[in-house]
């Protein structure tokens, strides 16, 4: 194998680099595994809750005897478990693993990162428990009550301390683009989270705060960390540098500037000043710039190497996620236009879009990251490569069924809703077949997660057949 000077003009000689990577991985092993174990558990909990919430549309009298299991609470528990449990903990785990490698310095105070993972879990258990018991702040994406939020603020602070100090002790002069995204995300998230949770907002102004936060939790946190991950893994697996440094720079700063102003497109047509909505629509359309820059960078790096997808599970997941990122972002820009939003606002169309983003884009990239990182943490190859194929196809078909059904159903719902001659009951009835399909999509995703979690468990217990070669490498040998 040839060694490509991958990321830096100031890369050390290969033997030194290998030694530093081992040192970096050793420093991050325990905290990253703790974040990953937690993320896998939250993925199972969150997707099971999601399926229960979805099935309630088919069986509205099922589990109706207690407030605990009512749709409004289960749905909320699902969102918090997948967004703050699965996606956030997995993304932080990846960032903690990646940054020491990229700045050529071992993780500073791994114990602080461990404590952050423990605190984060405590926040989720108490917060989701509170929501199910009926104690909520009553704002979408911000339901977990104010006092419990303090726990995650402390955990986040410990995390940021460990990561920022690691970067401060870097041995590189140059920052790779993944480090920009990860660092910025760790600056952004505490700012938006603390600001939005301050108990000073009310009335329609609070709706603006709510959606400024809600969209930034996606844009400046989940998206930023997912892009950091993809920017690391695509060139790493291909052994080929990213196409254009300049494009990644444009993509980063345009995302920082425009994404942060997208939020109020959730209030189009609502009782807030029109100029405010127009600002957010403009920023949403301008998102085409960072998205196109990132897409060109990812996809032209892949160009001519698509054969690699057959023998790298990591790349299969990450490339699927990167392609979906392009699609979901362009869809989001279109959805912010008043003419489109008039139809799609208040419908299941939006729910389909949200899942395409957090699942099709972020989660697929995360799955790819797990397949790359975990063997390096536990010094064991994935024992059952066939399970990775099952995971991939179940997850991809699950999100496809989910997205297509809600997109069609949501559009029909919106079009009928706009026609005052269609009674509301007929609007609801028309959506029902699509909601059945949504449950099917959700069940496929849950099945994918059970396969993944079982394989992950085998992996960390170092069970199953011992394999000398990475999963799927037999495809390369055959070629």
């Amino acid at each position: 194998m040839t060694t490509v000077p991958l990321l830096y003009e100031d890369s050390p000689p290969p033997q030194v680099a290998a030694g530093e990577r081992i040192e970096a991985d050793r420093s991050t092993r325990r905290p990253v595994l703790l974040f990953f174990h937690s993320a896998v558990v939250w993925l199972l909990v969150g997707s099971a809750l999601g399926l229960v919430a979805s099935l309630k549309f088919q069986f509205p009298d099922w589990l109706a005897g207690q407030a605990l299991w009512t749709f409004g609470r289960v749905r909320t528990a699902h969102l918090n478990a997948v967004a703050y449990g699965w996606a956030s903990m997995a993304l932080v785990g990846v960032a903690v693993w990646m940054i020491p490698r990229l700045v050529r310095a071992p993780l500073h105070r791994p114990a602080a990162a461990m404590a952050a993972a423990v605190g984060w879990n405590l926040f989720l258990v108490l917060g989701i428990g509170a929501v199910l018991a009926g104690w909520t702040d009553g704002l979408e994406w911000l339901e977990i009550p104010f006092p419990i939020d303090a726990i995650v603020a402390v955990a986040g602070g410990l995390m940021a301390y460990s990561v920022l100090m690691t970067v401060a002790r870097r041995r590189t002069k140059h920052f790779y683009v993944s480090v920009w995204y990860a660092l910025a995300a760790m600056v952004w998230f505490p700012i938006i989270f603390v600001t939005a949770n301050l108990p000073v907002w009310g009335g329609v102004g609070q709706a603006a705060v709510n959606w400024w936060y809600g969209h930034n939790a996606l844009g400046l946190w989940i998206t930023a960390l997912s892009l950091a991950t993809a920017y690391y893994l695509i060139p790493k697996v291909l052994g080929r540098p990213i196409r254009s440094y300049w494009l990644s720079l444009v993509g980063f700063w345009a995302l920082a500037f425009f994404y942060s102003m997208n939020g109020i497109h959730h209030l189009i047509g609502g009782p807030v000043p029109t100029w405010l909505i127009t600002v957010s629509i403009t920023a949403s359309v301008m998102m085409v710039i960072p998205v196109a820059a990132t897409a060109v960078n990812f996809h032209t790096t892949m160009l001519g190497r698509f054969g690699t997808l057959r023998h790298s599970p990591t790349l299969a997941f990450v490339v699927a996620g990167a392609m979906i990122y392009t699609a979901v972002s362009l869809q989001g820009s279109a959805e912010a236009l008043r003419t489109v939003n008039r139809v799609t606002h208040f419908t299941h169309f939006t729910v389909g879009h949200a899942h395409l983003g957090v699942y099709g884009f972020a989660s697929m990239i995360l799955f790819g990251a797990f397949y790359f990182i975990v063997p390096r943490l536990v010094n064991w190859e994935w024992p059952k490569p066939a399970l990775i194929r099952w995971h991939f196809w179940l997850a991809l078909s699950g999100i496809a069924v989910y997205f297509v059904s809600l997109t069609l159903g949501g559009w029909l719902e919106g079009a009928r809703m706009l026609d005052a001659a269609v009674p509301f009951g007929d609007v609801v009835t028309a959506t029902k077949p699509y909601l059945v399909a949504r449950s099917v999509g959700g069940a496929l995703m849950l099945a994918a997660h059970l396969v993944f979690a079982y394989h992950y468990w085998l992996m960390v217990r170092r069970r199953g057949p011992e394999r000398a070669e990475p999963a799927w490498s037999e495809a390369r040998a055959a070629a």
């Binding site: 509205p60 979408e140 938006i192 700063w253 920082a256 609502g270 009782p271």
Partner: protein
């Protein structure tokens, strides 16, 4: 200045700029929006009902915002006039909502003023709207052999409850219906008590 500081300060600057534009400026613009004369603050019972509405997550499926006629069929469906910031002066948390899996409730108290209808609808939505996918909130009610003094009895169609039983609205159901009936934004939002509009 090194790259570390560029990223750090750049990140802080972009998010701060967004905060100033999207939150700071509207806060200034909307500061001191007067309470309309026709809108009363929530009573204790209505506030309790509102807290229950929030904790049960009703707002995930029901919006509380009526769009202008140029932007949808809201008013044509009888959901009321377009909402204004003044309508929300007493609302904490805001419950504008993002979904209309069920209809908008900004004026449900105007559209459906019957307590009895609300009780039955909450107890079993499909008893009044067969197409409905709304959860049953029967845990807010008590099934009794015989109603007692002061009980609010829910009128149920035959077959919904076992023979010889009556459904009585619990204190939470009463508060929730008090709140729903208070959702009446049929006043002039710009008419301020004792002053020029």
């Amino acid at each position: 200045m090194n790259r570390y500081l560029v990223i750090f300060l750049g990140a802080v600057a972009t998010v701060t700029f967004a905060f100033v534009v999207l939150i700071g400026l509207p806060e200034v613009q909307l500061a001191g929006v007067p309470a309309p004369a026709g809108l009363a603050p929530y009573t204790a019972s209505q506030a309790e009902g509102r807290a229950l509405y929030t904790s049960l997550g009703c707002y995930y499926c029901h919006s509380q915002q009526v769009r202008t006629p140029s932007f949808g069929s809201d008013s044509a469906r009888g959901w009321g006039r377009a909402s204004e910031p003044e309508d929300y002066v007493y609302d904490r948390p805001h419950l504008l909502g993002t979904m209309r899996t069920g209809p908008d409730l900004m004026n449900i108290g105007v559209r459906q003023p019957s307590r009895d209808w609300h009780y039955l609808h909450l107890y079993q939505p499909r008893a009044v709207a067969p197409f409905s996918v709304m959860p049953s909130f029967r845990f807010l009610f008590v099934l009794k052999d015989q109603a007692e003094m002061g009980d609010e009895i829910v009128t149920t169609p035959p077959g919904l409850v076992p023979a010889g039983k009556v459904v009585v609205a619990g204190p939470k159901a009463r508060a929730l219906v008090d709140y729903l009936l208070a959702l009446k934004r049929d006043y002039d939002p710009h008419a301020v008590a004792g002053g020029a509009p």
